[in-house]
């Protein structure tokens, strides 16, 4: 599965790095705590969060995550979008709450273990 496949199935808006949608998706992780993501999210995971600032982009980039989904209608900050574009970090946004995003991804076969 790729990020593009997820975008086809869920109501996600591409906010940054539209050219990177062929990245593989091998798992999912939900957390708003950055060090928790650093420690426990696996490489090539999609990360669901309500955080929209640029440190999220740094974490996603350094931990080799395939995309960040900013859920619950939270909006990414302008410098986060700029940084994501520069670093090729896919930023997606949705009005769906985080629980619903995770559930729909699980339905597509994305796992958290």
């Amino acid at each position: 599965m790729t990020v593009a496949d997820i975008i086809k199935a869920l109501p996600l808006t591409v906010i940054a790095a539209a050219g990177e949608l062929s990245k593989p998706v091998e798992g999912g992780y939900v957390s708003d705590l950055l060090s928790n993501v650093m420690g426990f999210a696996k490489a090539n995971s999609v990360w669901i969060t309500m955080q929209g600032h640029q440190n999220v982009v740094a974490v996603a980039s350094l931990a080799n995550l395939s995309a960040v989904i900013i859920a619950g209608g939270a909006s990414p900050e302008a410098d986060a979008v700029k940084k994501a574009e520069a670093e090729g970090v896919v930023l997606l946004a949705t009005d769906l709450p985080a629980f619903e995003v995770a559930g729909q991804l699980y339905g597509l076969g994305v796992r958290g273990l």
Binding site: D32, L33, L34, S35, N36, G39, Q54, N55, A63
Partner: protein, 142 residues
């Protein structure tokens, strides 16, 4: 005989969240150019980011150094700051003194130091209250 190594060095400024993580990103990029294994680079990036952020969040200023050898990468982070009174307590998962405005950005899980020990092959921390903290991590390339 001194070893052949590539040394990178970046200054860090406390409370500077705009460029937070940039030093670790640069180290990561150099390791990629050298052709170090992706899973090892990821571990270096995680350890170096946690140490870099701790300077930005908890200290006044510091420097992060990466020494890249054929068989390993060493990360050394030295700061001027308040230091850590009880290192054993600070190393505990979930322990954090991060203030609220920092927590609102998603920091302060109390996971940074545990992550550093987990992702590195060797980890060393020295700290003097009122002076600063030194962290050293070694990552073997195979």
């Amino acid at each position: 005989m001194s070893e052949q190594g590539l040394v990178l060095e970046f200054p860090l400024q406390g409370a500077n969240f705009e460029s937070a993580g940039e030093a670790s990103s640069k180290i990561k990029r150099v390791l990629q150019q050298i052709g170090v294994r992706a899973d090892i680079i990821r571990r270096v990036a995680i350890g170096s980011y946690e140490a870099e952020m701790n300077v930005i969040i908890h200290a006044y200023r510091g420097v992060i150094k990466a020494a890249i050898y054929p068989d390993r990468t060493e990360i050394a982070v030295e700061d001027e700051g308040p230091g850590i009174a009880d290192i054993q307590l600070a190393m505990r998962e979930g322990y954090s003194t991060a203030p609220d405005y920092i927590r609102e950005m998603g920091f302060g899980a109390g996971m940074g130091l545990p992550n550093m020990t987990r992702c590195s092959d060797e980890f060393d921390i020295q700290s003097t209250v009122g002076v600063g903290t030194n962290i050293r991590m070694i990552f073997q390339h195979s």
